[in-house]
Amino acid sequence: MADTSVTLNGIKLDTPVIAASGTFGYGYEFAELYDIDVLGSFSFKGTTLNPRFGNPTPRIAECDSGMINAVGLQNPGVDSVIAEELPKLLRVFHKPVVANVSGFSVEEYARTCEKLDAIEQIGWIEVNVSCPNVHGGGMAFGTQPEQAAAVTRAVKTVTRKPVWIKLSPNVTDIVTIARACEDAGADGLSLINTMLGMRVDLRTKKPIIANKMGGYSGPGIRPVAQRMVYQVYEAVSIPLIGMGGIASAEDVIEMMLCGASAVQVGTANLIDPYACQRIIADLPGVMNKYGIDNLKTITGGAHCG
């Protein structure tokens, strides 16, 4: 019998498949379709200290092998998430959930995480220092090692929960930033966030996205994500949560061989709402096909020596 379980920061997951932030809301839409307890976990919609409406529409553009989004961190704010969304979530999801947090200053990140630290159903905090769709925040913290480290340190001082830093691929050297986060106390790294991209409407001759640029995601970015996971795996010893275009059980295994201890599935949820359920169900069969008995033993298997 194939063992699909993995462990992240001492918490056991039945499967390495985690639904990615921003593609799974607070879980309710998917809980109407299938039992979301089959997930390893899921990372809920990026949360900020204050409510945000986000960017004007159009926020979405189709691309070859994926899509661009510029939602801009729409969310009701951390107090409302704690008071309204999380109690509702408790009725449909009975495992530790990942709290995804964004901010516009080091202090804001810390204040939001401090509030979330008190919530029992949260297993991990995933700090997004890589949102490409907001100005004066988000990705600004994830493109400089000192800034990423400052956010990591600030968050670590206000929570006892494991902290993952979600890294941007829109950098010259992701390894330097990964090392800076590890040195600052990060318990894990999520990579990659979306790649900054653009599409132009041939009829209007202007960008399709109202915010002009947005984050490119989907199968098209998977080779880039795997390369970055591979590079970062060689440089740090904390677990990596790999994501970028994963849409099948084969993709999960490939990402884990590159160095991921678990994976996140994002864009695939938007195209096929049953994507996570299907990938999770397919995993044992695909493991058998490739002679894998125990999934947690394959992390980093693609590395030589």
Binding site: K45, T57, R59, A61, E62, G66, M67, V71, L270
Partner: protein, 247 residues
């Protein structure tokens, strides 16, 4: 919402502009006129949202205009092709208690979902008046369908090549009505806002990621806060809409 495989029964041009596709499959998830489906096309990453023109127990029908690579690809799909469809999305129109003489105001592609709404009204003993607006004669479709339901039906064309020259609001301003339902482009909605003397319901269109409420790609701000066009809409009551300022 239901995800399933739907088989094309027919896919033909209605006129030089619009095409009509009839898909067979389980329609149990469709609960109101004005809802939409989201169709997966092979080799296109995102689905195509289309409003439901008509449905019965055996299938549903969409009317579409080829405007990009996806919809152009759709026109070439032969009968018998199986498509992955998310069926019965969004809230749809609802006929408020006491409404007796509603207007149906359609603009181009937006005339399509008003037919299912017209049938639903007639089924409840309410006879709406239909006003269908097009740019030009070549685009006109559906007039006979509304007329066959026994409805007073007006057609306008912007260039005057068919029916009455002008816009749906020109007819609207001359009619008696106690409510309105509309689906069409934003400039038409601005004209309706200036003309309308009653409450009503507008159906909104937006570029969507998922179509079922997960991605927040199609959010609009309303008087009661952010709402998702795909899940909380596409139909919004006139009273809750915050109109975007004209660029």
């Amino acid at each position: 919402m239901r995800q399933g495989t739907y088989v094309i029964r027919s896919n033909e041009p209605l006129n030089v502009v619009y095409h009509r596709m009839i898909l067979e499959g389980d329609t149990s998830a469709i609960t109101a006129p004005g809802q939409f489906v989201n169709i997966k096309l092979e080799s296109f990453p995102l689905r195509r949202p289309m409003s439901i023109h008509d449905w019965d127990e055996s299938g549903f029908c969409v009317i579409y205009k080829p405007v990009g690579r996806g919809t152009e690809y759709m026109t070439a799909l032969p009968a018998g092709t199986a498509l992955d469809v998310l069926c019965g999305l969004g809230n749809g129109y609802s006929l408020p208690e006491g409404v007796r003489r509603p207007l149906l105001l359609g603009g181009g592609s937006g005339c399509a979902p008003l037919y299912a709404l017209a049938k639903a009204c007639v089924g409840k003993g309410v006879k709406p008046t239909a006003v269908l607006g097009y740019n030009t004669k070549d685009e006109v479709y559906g007039e006979d369908l509304f007329a066959r339901l026994g409805l007073e039906t007006y057609v306008t064309t912007a260039d005057g090549s068919y029916g009455r020259a002008g816009f749906v609001t020109d007819v609207m301003s001359e009619l008696e009505y106690d409510y309105f339902f509309t689906c069409g482009p934003m400039p038409m909605y601005r004209a309706i806002e200036r003309t309308a003397r009653t409450s009503g319901q507008y159906s909104f269109e937006e570029r969507m990621g998922c179509g079922f409420g997960a991605c927040m790609g199609c959010s609009v701000m309303t008087k009661s806060g952010p709402r998702r066009v795909c899940k909380d809409g596409p139909v919004f009551r006139r009273e809750e809409i915050l109109w975007p300022t004209q660029a």
